[in-house]
């Protein structure tokens, strides 16, 4: 427990690289990620274009950097939305119980009966392909799992003495709920939110790959992979870089998630 686990070190390192890429993109990219240069189409990696150029002659490295910031923004906002919706409803559901709880449970059961990706696909059709559509669709699709996990911990926390004590000293129900029940119910949520971050990065790149995510000229990793598919033989480097970035992000998150779970559940510690 004293020394940081290998999972934590490698995971933080990988996520650190991705965050550094995203931050760099805010200030500087070697070329404009959208600048078309028809004279330099599909140039292999070289000194002037470190990772080569794509079928429009756009610099792959610049697009990759901006793609990192796109992926991270979408992931952060989506997880925030899912946690916001899920935790609020879960808190209400577990604390108020009764009819409200029953209705929320039935609805979340039905939503969980659809595969998450499928629900997100359906919602994307309604929202139309754009960044905020992706955030909304994935946020709604993942909120029922947050609702469930928050509700179940609220159900056990609300029976504890300090909750009763808060009422006895005259705090309102709302105050008791937000100040005392909620903070004691979020530990399991932290682990879920971490893995959810990975699901979102994966789902967002998958949707973009299908052409149903952030629309094409925007440099997302999914868009770059989908554009690389037809040129697999002529320009294989186009398909390598974005995939490595997605995998690196997912691996980092999985390792961090493991490290976190080891901390919270010492029984599974050290592997």
């Amino acid at each position: 427990m004293m020394r940081p686990s290998l999972n934590l070190v490698v995971g933080s390192l990988l996520i650190g690289i991705v965050v550094a890429m995203a931050v760099t993109a805010f200030f500087w990219t070697p070329y404009s990620p959208m600048a078309v240069n028809l004279k330099a189409r599909m140039v292999g990696p070289s000194a002037s274009y470190l990772l080569g150029t794509d079928d429009f002659g756009r610099d792959v490295l610049s697009r990759l950097l901006v793609g990192a910031s796109q992926s991270l923004t979408v992931a952060i906002l989506t997880v925030a939305l899912a946690v916001g919706i899920g935790a609020t409803l879960g808190l209400i559901s577990g604390y108020v119980r009764g009819m409200v709880d029953r209705v929320l449970m039935v609805v979340s059961d039905a939503i969980l009966a659809l595969p998450g990706t499928l629900l997100a696909l359906g919602l994307m059709v309604i929202m139309g392909p754009n960044k905020y559509g992706v955030i909304f669709a994935l946020g709604v699709a993942y909120s029922p799992s947050v609702l469930r996990i928050v509700r179940s911990s609220v159900l056990s926390v609300r029976e504890r003495e300090f909750v009763e004590a808060s009422r006895v000293i005259g705090n309102s129900e709302l105050q008791t709920m937000v100040r005392h029940v909620l903070p004691n119910s979020i530990a399991p949520l932290v682990v879920l939110a971490t893995s959810m971050f990975g699901w979102v990065v994966l789902a967002e790149s998958g949707l973009s790959f299908l052409g149903l995510g952030v629309p094409p000229p925007a440099p997302t990793w999914g868009n770059m992979l989908s554009a690389a598919r037809p040129f697999l033989e002529r320009a294989p480097w186009l398909g390598l870089a974005p995939g490595i970035c997605i995998s690196m992000t997912l691996l980092g998150i999985n390792l961090l998630g493991d490290a976190l779970r080891d901390r919270l559940d010492p029984r599974m510690e050290r592997q």
Binding site: A113, P115, L118, L123, G206, F209, L210, L250
Partner: protein, 317 residues
């Protein structure tokens, strides 16, 4: 025996409200899509009278709740309407495509399970050893690779560089099994590798929990061989969570089928859905969403119904 019958009956009854709600969600979702389906179907060049007649024929002039009842009523009888783009019945269209998706999914998950169960058991048995470390590292890596990228890499290596397998195209199994197989090997291998990662970790975690229990210590103290302890005593008890996970994985694959089928240009259910979305072919979109949800619910039902086979305790509770 009675307890088992009650368990099965309860589980079956539970699926009905779920299916009804899923139907409602799909129906509402498709109604919320912006744009007028009649205009999409007929184009702009028709008179108001014609489009009204078409609207009435589709029942779109009825109140929404009534439309839902009609739609569900017909859906239960297997009538999901016809495709707007080619006029074919949606159900027939989907069943044809589903064969491809289903075959790949089931073969991949079966292969992944066959590899993951022994690998995970060994890892748990040698917990914290060198072998365990490498198995966990490899599985975590496999888990972190998106299927569509691994698919692209496979195509790049085995299709483009080595030229062993075709890069684009598809032949139905009924036409030429050998050629069909050559198009299916890569998608199956891709899914097998990825699901292997998730499953190995699941088997390992589940087996570690079980190996801690006292009856295992007892079995060892009796002098049973390690092999016997692992296979006859630990595995059956560790298999419950793994079995549930297999159901969830199949469901996840159904949802993610579109991506893999796009990489390998396979005519599966997922690709049908995405093409229908782009073509604004609403009956097909609606049908695919409903059908996929139905398969998902049925798969989980089968998983739950088989559960008592290796864990009779669930029936009692």
């Amino acid at each position: 025996m009675r307890a088992l019958a009650i368990y099965i009956a309860k589980r079956l009854l539970w699926t009905l409200p779920t299916l009804l709600l899923v139907g409602m969600i799909v129906f509402v979702m498709v109604r919320l899509i912006p744009g007028d389906p009649v205009q999409v179907a007929l184009g702009d060049q028709v008179s108001a009278g014609e489009s009204e007649a078409f609207r009435a024929r589709l029942g779109l002039d009825q109140p929404i709740p009534l439309q839902f009842l009609y739609w569900m009523g017909r859906a239960v009888q297997g009538d999901l309407g016809n495709s707007i783009s080619n006029g074919q019945p949606v159900l027939a269209l989907m069943l044809g495509r589903f064969q491809v998706t289903f075959l790949i999914m089931v073969v991949a998950v079966a292969l992944a399970t066959c590899i993951a169960v022994p690998a995970g058991m060994v890892a748990a048995w040698k917990q914290n050893g060198r072998l365990d470390f490498s198995f966990v590292a490899l599985s975590t890596l496999l888990m972190s690779v998106p299927s569509f990228w691994l698919g692209l890499l496979m195509l790049l290596v085995f299709g483009v560089k080595l030229g062993w397998l075709p890069v684009v195209g598809f032949v139905p199994l009924s036409e030429n099994p050998r050629a069909a197989l050559s198009y299916m090997i890569l998608p199956i291998a891709t899914l097998t590798l990825i699901e292997m990662g998730v499953l190995t970790r699941m088997v390992r975690a589940s087996a570690i929990e079980v190996l801690r229990l006292e009856y295992i210590m007892h079995a060892r103290a009796k002098g049973l061989s390690e092999r016997r302890v692992l296979l006859r005593h630990a595995l059956p008890n560790a298999f419950g969570p793994i079995w549930t996970m297999i159901g969830l994985i199949l469901g996840g694959l159904l949802g993610g089928a579109a991506v893999l089928e796009t990489v390998f240009t396979l005519p599966g259910l997922g690709r049908l859905l995405v093409d229908a979305i782009f073509a604004r072919d609403y009956p097909v979109v609606q049908g695919c969403l409903l059908f996929t949800a139905l398969v998902y619910v049925v798969v989980n039902l089968i998983v739950d119904l088989c559960y008592p086979l290796f864990d009779p305790r669930v029936v009692a509770s």
